[in-house]
């Protein structure tokens, strides 16, 4: 017979403690606006 074991929830990234002053990297895209957004 097959039994289903309970598994603890996966840790959520945003709950991982960040070092003080940690700045998440900018999203790869879209890039910065050179003139203005139309």
């Amino acid at each position: 017979s097959v039994t289903k074991r309970a598994v603890a929830d996966a840790a959520q990234h945003d709950k991982v403690p960040r070092p003080v002053g940690f700045v998440p990297p900018p999203p790869p895209c879209p890039g910065k606006i050179l003139h203005f957004d139309i």
Binding site: P26, P30, G31, K32, H35, F36, I38
Partner: protein, 251 residues
């Protein structure tokens, strides 16, 4: 354990910016109408490895129209991007490039350009003139009157209309039509054209035979017409003019 795939290229990475620059130069170099476009945003980049030192790069770019006509010899970096209040025009471009041994080349490009919405302009600048259709009657009348006026006063080559680049109509506080149009020099002087303009042929397609004019016609409360043309190169030298002097700017 296989090596992890390289991190995706960011849109602001130097490699992306270099590819975008090649793409924008290609787009401007292969366009024959309107104005030069400058990069505004690298919206997306996708790299497909073809093999060692061989990548395909797919770019999605947002460009903005500059004030430089496409035939202008002015380098792109010296071309001013039209401001928002000038009723800016945006270009959405998809470009496919290949990078072999570090050398980038454009394989294909597709662009759509569109003017900013009039509502957006009115929100920010209620009194600003808005872009008008290039076949608007008032626009056509203004271009025709302006070119006739210029040809009637110039002592140089008779100019012929190539295309209308841009037109704006303002109604308040002054009813005015502002137009920009490309012109080409012909094999007649303006004086000769008075006799038979139909016989005047455009000079061979050379950048120096092209020019660009701006004209403002005020219709109300008073009538006024101002036209200014700048030719990019030599003129048809009038017989009595020594060769050296015709290089002077005609504007």
């Amino acid at each position: 354990v296989p090596a992890a795939p390289p991190a995706p290229l960011g849109c602001d990475d130097p490699e992306s910016v270099a590819a975008a620059e090649v793409a924008v130069n290609y787009i401007n170099g292969h366009s024959h109408h309107g104005y030069k476009f400058a990069l505004n945003i690298i919206k997306d980049i996708h790299v497909v490895h073809q093999g060692p030192n061989n990548d395909l790069i797919f770019l999605e770019l947002d460009l903005l129209e500059t004030r430089c006509p496409i035939l202008s010899p002015t380098p792109l970096e010296n071309c001013t991007v039209r401001s928002f209040a000038e009723h800016a025009v945006e270009g959405d471009c998809d470009v496919k490039l290949q990078k072999v041994d570090g050398t980038l080349s454009v394989l294909a490009s597709k662009c759509h350009s569109h003017a900013d919405s009039s509502e957006d302009i009115r929100k920010v600048c209620p009194g600003c003139a808005l872009l008008a259709s290039l076949n608007n009657t008032e626009v056509l009348e203004t271009v025709s009157a302006a070119l006739n006026d210029y040809n009637s006063k110039t002592t140089d080559s008779y100019l012929r209309l190539l295309e209308i680049g841009r037109a704006k109509i303002q109604y308040h506080p002054v009813h005015s039509v502002v137009t920009e149009f490309a012109v080409g020099a012909t094999n007649c002087s303006a004086e000769e054209a008075k006799a038979n303009a139909g016989a005047c042929q455009l000079l061979p397609e050379d950048q120096s035979n092209f020019g660009f004019c701006t004209a403002v016609m005020v219709k109300h409360p008073s009538q006024d017409l101002q036209v200014d043309c700048q030719l990019y190169g030599h003129q048809v030298p009038a017989p009595h003019t020594p060769l050296l002097s015709w290089r002077q700017d005609t504007s």
